[in-house]
Amino acid sequence: MKILRTIRVALRALGRNKMRSFLTALGIIIGVGAVIATVSIGEGARRDLEKRFESMGTNLLFVRAGSRSYRGVHGGGGSFTNLTVEDAKVIEEKCDAVKYVSPSVSGRAQVVYGNKNWNTSIQGAGSAYPEIRNWAVEEGTFFDDTHVRAAAKVCVLGSEVRKNLFEFDDPIGQVIRIKKIPFKVIGVLKSMGESGGFFNRDDIIVVPYTTAQRRLLGIIYIHSIDVSAVSSDKTAEAQSQIEETLRIQHKIAPGAEDDFNVGNMADIAESAAQSRKTMTIVLGAIASVSLLVGGIGIMNIMLVSVTERIREIGIRMSVGARERDILFQFLTEAVVLSVLGGVIGIGFGVIGSRLIAKFGGWETLVSVASITLAFLFSGSVGIFFGFYPARKASKLDPIEALRYE
């Protein structure tokens, strides 16, 4: 088991100078730790989104204003005004694969109750919102079509808002002020149970869309339409029906581009996955820079180490070490150093990602893939950056090496 022996010899050599070995490995430790922790943020976001999509159901569709290609570049919404309540009604009437429809507007507002203040997201929706979103009311009731027709000033709180404004008091029947306008609380939504993440879904207040349009946002168009298909397998059919209906409704000439965009959960999931992938790559790349620095550090120290041990190399050669024995010895030292650094770095990365989850509120996930990758990466760094010094060592002339002072 020549390899095991060489590893043991390498460990002993590294152990003779513990402080230096540690400082050399530090670059790798930090690099790997940083990569693991930052990638775990990306992975956590992915799992977060996956969980959300699962809970939302696969027969969910969204209609948004603005064409797909323009949206793709533009990204954000809210600047398109060509979707109306009429559109929603027409979809509900004409598309038989569609079960529920809920017009949607949204914005943010300052909310006040007593001496409590909270800034939250306001969602204007139709009465079918809970069915479409698979999100039931836990206390009280959701508003119905009467409230919508009357643009009643009623609201349903998300559990996070309820917690912040009411703590343990009963909110039902109480009046809160949204943008200084009084609203009566008629229900509280079930908690989605997220510890944080980029968007806390429980940090929301739902009001009838008519109320939101008229009293809170001052608009007559709508931002989007939530739609649920009659069943999961009818989703594709529903999507094409909606597109056809809206093209007629918006009087779009055949061949011209849609001025709206119908998306299903898969589309959303995919674009989320894309941006998650991009973010992970960017974060990973930045963190990898420190791994590179760590590798350069290893090469540097190995070069110094080789110079310091020229005599030792001469002695080994005089008793029969061949070029490849010396090369292998120093390469092993570099690899052992970088792999140990990688393992410790993985440990710190896992701890770091737990800390980020706990204190930053972001969900993190350390996957087996990222650990394996980090492990392999640190090994490769050792081989790559350790090779040059090891080769230098192996090419020494034994006589000169023995004479070296």
Binding site: I315, R316, V319, G320, A321, R322, D325, P398, I399, L402
Partner: protein, 230 residues
């Protein structure tokens, strides 16, 4: 390979020329000599006489520019670096003036070193090293580190290391140069014992004529040639 005339070493017109910038240095000028198995030779001569160069060539650390070197029936003068390393491992033991032990390493680990490169499993290597250290009188001090050993003890470790693989040839370059006269005498006694009891061929380089007297024969070098022997 078995050689017909029992010569462990056959040097035929060994020449070594160094180029130092533009200047050519003739370190050895056609040295021819034969050494039988079991011989104990001392090489003497002033600085620059070529003693070290000759030792390096005999020890397969260097190759001659011209000439033939036959060691134990095998011509080694044209072997490549790696094959020479193998020869050094199996056939030659070195003892140096400055001991050349690995620092901060135990006597045992130092002694084992050649065995690391000859593919002997570690348990056997350990046993052989213990035996070698015992044969030079260091029983009980195997686990002391280099910095915990006296000069004489370090040189004994070096001798043990040179013996551990059972080579037929032992080369010593000023082995007593860094030792006081009493310790030096002890070391020379060890060499004598090894030569007489085990039949190991020993070649010594020394300035000290007292040390040289321990050998069977003495060779005198000057300007790269053997000028005399007795």
């Amino acid at each position: 390979m078995v050689n017909s005339n029992n010569n462990l070493i056959q040097l035929e017109k060994i020449t070594k020329i160094y180029k130092v910038g533009d200047i050519q240095v003739n370190a050895l000028a056609g040295v021819s000599y034969a050494i039988k198995q079991g011989d104990f030779i001392a090489i003497m001569g002033p600085s620059g006489s070529g003693k070290s160069t000759l030792m390096n060539i005999i020890g397969c650390l260097d190759r001659p520019t011209e000439g033939k070197y036959i060691l134990d029936g095998e011509e080694v003068s044209t072997l490549d670096k790696n094959k020479l390393a193998g020869i050094r491992n199996r056939k030659i033991g070195f003892v140096f003036q400055t001991f050349n032990l690995l620092p901060r390493t135990t006597a045992l680990e130092n002694t084992e070193l050649p065995l690391l490169y000859s593919n002997i499993p570690s348990k056997n290597a350990r046993d052989l090293a213990y035996k070698a250290l015992s044969s030079v009188g260091l029983k009980g001090r195997e686990l002391h580190r280099t910095n915990q050993l006296s000069g004489g003890e370090q040189q004994r470790v070096a001798i043990a290391r040179s013996l551990v693989n059972n080579p037929p040839l032992l080369l010593a370059d000023e082995p007593t140069g860094n030792l006081d006269s009493k310790t030096g005498k002890e070391i020379i006694e060890i060499f004598k014992k090894l030569n007489e009891e085990k039949g190991i061929t020993i070649i010594l380089v020394t300035h000290d004529s007292g040390v040289a007297q321990a050998a069977h024969r003495r060779i005198y070098l000057r300007d790269g040639e053997i000028i005399r022997e007795d």
